[in-house]
């Protein structure tokens, strides 16, 4: 029986700003089991990063209000005090950020930054911490770890910096590793290496991974389950295979259709989702995707619930179209042959 590490129930995150209330995350629910990789996919501003940061209590602020529950091994992260949170952060849940250059401190050596993480959470003297740090760097594939440990971030390439970040995140053997766009700033060749590394380390460290990305291609190999987010809401949630082979929400189709496919003949025009994501202060009425959806109709003025509409249990979506209509309508989009907007 897999152990349930995280259970998010109807999470809401609101930022109170001068311009109004930003509904950054609006009723998001999911679970994460040990050994599982969960992909959260969506465009910039869909609330995927805010969701992840909230799991670690990083969005707390006097202008932020929360709703729902974030249970980590049964304890509600939203209710924890700062001290309790400190014990969870880095130790039980840790995070890898998008840009390894800005998330590493340029004036400390890589080794010092990893040792710091170890010594904050564990009783270890300097030498023990250093030995652990070297081991970690070896595990993430840094050559000559013994000497590279004293290097500064600027002496590392982008890919190596991201490896160092991963080493730091793994320093205390966390149960949950949250990777927020870990490869977006990297070359495609390095991207493949990093994703493979995260997948391998998940098994070695017996942890679970939340992988956040805007590119469905990145999670195709590694994710067990995928959540597609749009305007702070989950619009589709399914295991990886059903999501790719039987996608139910027009937004998911658009995301899939706009990836240039090397395995297919070249198309004249790429499919694209017209327009831009809506403002989260004044989100559209009804289905949030309606203004950009080529298949919207009257009923879409009312928001559909996230529920199971297909044969596959656990495959949820938020769209009024009937399953038959969807299976027909999505064909040109998925094939990328539809005239782009």
């Amino acid at each position: 029986m897999p152990e349930r590490l995280i259970e998010v129930k109807d999470l809401e995150v609101k930022f109170h700003t001068e311009d109004g209330v930003v509904n950054a995350v609006d009723g998001v629910s999911f679970e994460l089991q040990r050994g599982q990789v969960l992909g959260i996919v969506g465009e910039s501003g869909s609330g995927k990063s805010v969701t992840a940061m909230t799991l670690l209590g990083l969005t707390r602020d006097r202008n932020t209000s929360f709703g729902g529950e974030v249970l980590y091994k049964g304890r509600d992260v939203l209710e924890m005090d700062e001290d309790e949170l400190q014990g969870v952060r880095g130790n039980e849940m840790s995070m890898i950020f998008q840009d390894p250059m800005t998330s590493l401190n340029p004036v400390y050596s890589i080794g010092m930054q990893i040792c710091e993480a170890i010594r904050v959470h564990e009783r270890a003297d300097k030498n023990q911490a250093r030995r652990r740090a070297i081991d970690l760097l070896k595990q993430v594939g840094i050559p000559n770890a013994e000497s590279r440990i004293d290097n500064y971030p600027h002496e590392f390439s982008g890919g190596m910096r991201q490896r160092a970040m991963i080493a730091m995140a793994l320093a205390c053997n966390p149960d949950v590793l949250i990777a927020d766009e870990p490869t977006t700033a990297l070359d495609v060749t390095i991207q493949a290496q990093i994703i493979e590394l995260i997948d391998r380390l998940k098994d070695e460290f017996n942890s679970a991974v939340i992988l956040i990305t805007h590119d469905l291609g990145v999670v195709a190999d590694v994710a067990d389950e995928i959540i597609v987010m749009y305007a702070g809401r989950v619009v589709e949630r399914a295991s990886t295979r059903p999501l790719f082979y039987d996608p139910q929400h027009p937004y998911t189709w658009g995301l899939l259709g706009s990836i240039p496919r090397l395995d297919r003949p070249k198309q004249d025009r790429l499919h694209s989702i017209k327009g831009t994501p809506p403002s989260l202060i004044r989100a559209p009425k009804g289905c949030k995707f309606r203004p950009r959806c080529p298949h919207a109709f009257d009923k879409c003025m009312e928001e559909p619930r996230l529920e199971n509409r297909v044969e596959e249990p656990g495959h949820l979506d938020r769209c009024w179209l009937s399953v038959e209509e969807k299976r027909e309508l999505r064909v040109p989009t998925l094939a990328g042959t539809e005239e782009a907007a």
């Binding site: 890919g159 195709a220 658009g254 706009s258 090397l262 395995d263 694209s272």
Partner: protein
């Protein structure tokens, strides 16, 4: 983009261009070495065509792009624009040419001045090149519409726009002076996939409408396929493969290209599982002391002794498909023989070991074709 303009006249020719950045040390700032950013690259870009320039970070693709528009001075070699050698032109003589060559930058956040309004950002090139103030506003608004923004955006600041919209502002600025050549340096890498395709379609439309010639720099072969007529692959300052676009995807010759292709993610779990991923070990080596022989040899899975010693020349494998490799992939015996005859100047040793490999026996980097 197949709207090749008027025939085969090259708009830009790059001849044996080298760009070394000196490394200086000590009190006297003596030169102790050099970064070989671009090392002896030759190619031509025809009018109306799009050349994709692909490679990993640090391969010199951006430096080459900047050298072509003369933001860098080449160490040696020539850049010829419309039949005229522009390598030695001074700042003043270069100014009229700046109208013809423009750049789109990678980072839409860093390349727009946050304190200037959109109108002034796009209008600056017009101002510098002496367009009257009265005409500027109309032109800027027209440009905003061309790139799919609204003329009302004239008085807004960059922070009021999303990443994709900002990149459109960058495009409008590049088009302000009706350039002939646009060098786009990773114009979509900072954008979401859904916005990337909008941007690529826009660049495509603009090319048809305004008869532009593009040099499109990217690290992702998936992205360049849609815009390019021909693709040049660079590795550590060297041009390692140059080919008509579709041919490169069907039969990559250089193992590095094969690896780049296999790294492009496929949004299909089954295909992704089936295909053989060639994960390149490690990073691109330092361009200060590039590896001997073929520069790719430390990371190449077909590497033999000759690769360590002899640098492979760029050889024409027919139909405009050039590659520099001792162990070319996807090449039949006949083509290889022909290629051998035509490369007289190359070291004999290279011919000796360049035996054809059976392309049918090797798995395709991208299945399902």
């Amino acid at each position: 983009m197949s709207s090749v303009g008027n025939g085969d006249t090259p708009l830009v020719e790059v001849k044996n261009v080298k760009k070394y950045f000196p490394i200086r040390k000590g009190l006297l700032q003596r030169e102790v070495g050099a970064v070989h950013a671009v090392d002896d690259v030759t190619f031509a870009v025809r009018e109306g065509e799009t050349l994709g320039l692909v490679g990993e970070s640090g391969c010199g693709k951006s430096t080459l792009g900047r050298t072509i528009v003369r933001l860098h001075e080449p160490t040696s070699g020539k850049v010829i624009f419309e039949g005229r050698d522009i390598t030695k032109l001074g700042t003043r003589a270069l100014r009229p040419l700046r109208r013809e060559m423009q750049m789109i930058f990678q980072d839409p956040y860093a390349s727009l001045n946050p304190r200037k309004r959109v109108g002034s950002i796009i209008g600056t090139p017009l101002k510098i090149h002496g367009v009257e103030k009265s005409k500027r506003r109309a032109r800027v608004q027209e440009l905003l519409e061309t790139v799919g923004l609204s003329p009302e955006h004239y008085n807004r600041f960059p922070h009021e726009f999303s990443g994709g919209q900002r990149q459109r502002i960058g495009v409008a600025r590049a088009l302000a002076l009706n350039p002939k050549l646009v060098v786009a340096d990773e114009p979509v890498s900072a954008l979401d996939v859904s916005i990337q395709s909008q941007m690529l379609n826009l660049l495509d439309d603009l090319q048809k409408e305004l008869k532009l010639t593009y040099i499109f720099i990217a690290h992702d072969l998936g992205v360049v396929r849609h815009v390019s007529d021909r693709i040049a692959v660079m590795y550590l300052g060297k041009l390692v493969e140059l080919s008509p676009a579709e041919d490169l995807y069907k039969r990559p010759i250089m193992p590095y290209t094969e690896a780049l292709l296999s790294a492009v993610p496929i949004p299909d779990p089954d295909l992704s599982d089936q295909r053989e991923r060639i994960v390149l070990e490690g990073d691109v080596p330092s361009p200060i002391n590039p590896p001997s022989g073929c520069r790719f040899h430390p990371r190449c899975r077909y590497m033999t002794d000759i690769c360590k010693e002899v640098e492979p020349p760029l050889v024409d494998f027919g139909r405009g498909h050039l590659a520099a490799c001792h162990h070319p992939l996807n090449v039949d015996r006949e083509t290889l023989e022909r290629a051998k005859v035509s490369k007289r100047h190359s070291p004999d040793a290279a011919d000796e070991s360049a035996k054809p490999r059976d392309s049918s026996g090797r798995s395709d980097p991208v299945p399902g074709r």
